[in-house]
Symmetry: C2
Subunit: 198 residues, 2 copies
């Protein structure tokens, strides 16, 4: 659907209002009426932008929350061009998840939509692909500066680091502790630093 600027703004207001409502009250109890009330929109407006109803809106909220996951790591994630930047990124990621705690809005939405539904899979795959591409770009930049060894495979190392972050977050959602997340990032970055001496 091609939207006018005003239409896009209204749609975005509905998505952001739904995201806030879901963060505060949970996905199960949030209704389209709650979202309408919060965003000051009418039934026909919500239906116009989300003809598929609650499920279509939830998918849009999942896309919005997945964008926030990357935005919250900027500018560091997009500029991994010095060890100082890598460690600042590490601190930002740990800090983000520590603040977020055991309630991960994106994970709740994906599980509500059904992890294996095409829509949910597309949101997760796109997030992981972009996240990994930004890490790999940082590795390539450090290789250009000869700060990471030429034998390192940027995509494999980025995949391993991303897996460590995902696992660290999953463990935190169960245990409340960021210890695994920190261990995975610290040792992943240390391995990259060590590669230049190899």
């Amino acid at each position: 659907m091609k939207l006018t600027a005003k239409g896009a703004a209204t749609r975005q207001r509905i998505v952001e209002g739904a995201a806030a409502e879901i963060r505060e009250r949970g996905v199960a109890v949030t209704t389209l009426d709650d979202v309408r009330a919060r965003t000051g929109t009418s039934k026909s407006q919500v239906f116009h932008y989300f003809p598929g109803g609650k499920e279509e809106l939830l998918l849009a909220v999942a896309r919005y929350e997945s964008g926030r996951v990357l935005d919250d790591q900027q500018p560091e994630l997009g500029e991994l061009s010095s060890w100082r930047a890598w460690h600042a990124w590490r601190d930002r990621v740990v800090d983000r998840y520590r603040k977020q705690g055991q309630h991960c809005p994106l994970s709740v939405l994906i599980s509500q939509l059904g992890r294996s539904t095409p829509g949910a899979q597309a949101v997760v795959t796109q997030l992981l692909d972009q996240w990994q591409a930004e890490i790999a770009a940082g590795i390539r930049e450090m290789q250009r500066q000869q700060k990471i060894g030429a034998s390192v495979d940027p995509d494999q190392s980025a995949a391993a680091l991303l897996a460590g972050i995902q696992g660290g977050v999953v463990v935190m959602l169960s245990t409340g502790s960021t210890r695994h997340l920190e261990a995975a990032m610290d040792l992943g970055i240390a391995a990259l630093r060590g590669s230049a001496r190899g």
Copy 2:
């Protein structure tokens, strides 16, 4: 509840039957009646062993499935005393999850019970603790043989490797590919191997 040998066997039969039913048909549609029919047990027997009903049975099934996660990695996980054993363990883990595919019974159960409920948290925490302790024991054994550097912190490295495995599995549940799991294990083990040369 203290059980006789016969009682423990009946209880175990109910748990295993419920696990098989849930693996085949899914947790949402499996009823206590299905489990009774499959295991040839009576309503009063099921109530005797699981007075809390379906939720208590699901928790027992989650405990059973979490035991299988570790059992499926044996004997390699318990004997990480040579690089050959580490790589055999790596292959066994990747193979297990590749065969399991995008349907993880334990993850489904934990999400059904509610990730943040005390019962589900206890199952996950105990599984992660034991898994990590076995990896750390392998690192300590390799340090004793001077095949892993003395400066490596066994608990931190085991936590990072476990995070990589968890993240690799989570990514696989969404994407169907074991690439992240393999990258995390391969680079995690390579970092441990490299530490002896440090």
